[in-house]
Subunit: 155 residues, 2 copies
């Protein structure tokens, strides 16, 4: 799967591209503490949410629905956190213009995928309170996570 | 300003109602560490973002634009964090169905309003890393913050 704009995002280390809609890229994040964590990035340069155009906003709705649905089916996620922060973008002047959303699936119960148990010890609280814990997955497992989401993504 | 549904939200302690669009309430949050921090709450019960209908989603776009614009004009905010988390909602079974967004203005420079200096020491990072700091404002100052946002809200 390729997307010309995705190449531009390389330095952002958002992760591995798993799909795209008309205006958004769906990218599997490197940190899989919360199984299925993704970044949803706009396919053009922009710095703030209120500058999206109506078509991009409508397509974001489409993307939210498809991704929530896919990760529910793939990993039985209980619910999802969505956040457009752009904090680190503003440490540069002018700001880094890669508008993106953090999509973090949350799990009331642990979930076993490919023999590995994924937990969400901060369920009911912010994952920001859980910064000490890391969960590196192998390339092989990462690819299986990607394929499992793609299976249900319907885009 | 009154809204029947806002009464239902009383136990959520979202704050003081400052305006409403067709489908969303704009509420000034009690914590004004980041000047202009609001909650944007859906005017009906719902637990997840993907269950919004297209009209509610389109009206959220309208709300994002009006609120960002107003807080930029009122307090010269640099940028904004938006997050739909719903974490604590899921500590109850069934979840508390008050779908809402956290709207946190971020400031590269301090801003003086009504003689009080508001800082954002975590600019460029998450406000979650700043949990120790609190910023209680008086009722009088809170009302002035509300009026300043309302002045530019254009709804």
């Amino acid at each position: 799967m390729e997307c010309e704009y995705f190449e531009k995002l390389n330095n952002q280390e958002f992760g591995d591209l798993i799909g795209e809609t008309k205006y958004w890229l769906i990218i599997l994040a490197p940190d899989q503490r919360n199984l299925g964590t993704c970044v949803v990035a706009l396919k053009r340069e922009e710095i703030e949410l209120s500058a999206l155009n109506p078509d991009e906003w409508a397509d974001l709705y489409n993307t939210v629905q498809k991704l929530e649905n896919a990760v529910k089916k793939a990993f039985k996620a209980t619910m999802f956190n969505w956040a457009c922060l752009m904090n680190s973008s503003y440490l540069q002047d002018p700001p880094t213009p890669f508008l993106h959303w953090h999509f973090i699936p949350r799990y009331k119960s642990s979930f076993v995928f490919q023999g590995k148990t994924f937990e969400d010890p901060c369920f009911g609280r912010s994952t920001m309170q859980d910064r000490g814990r890391s969960f590196k997955v192998s390339e092989e497992l990462k690819n299986k996570i990607k394929m499992e989401i793609i299976k249900y993504l319907e885009i």
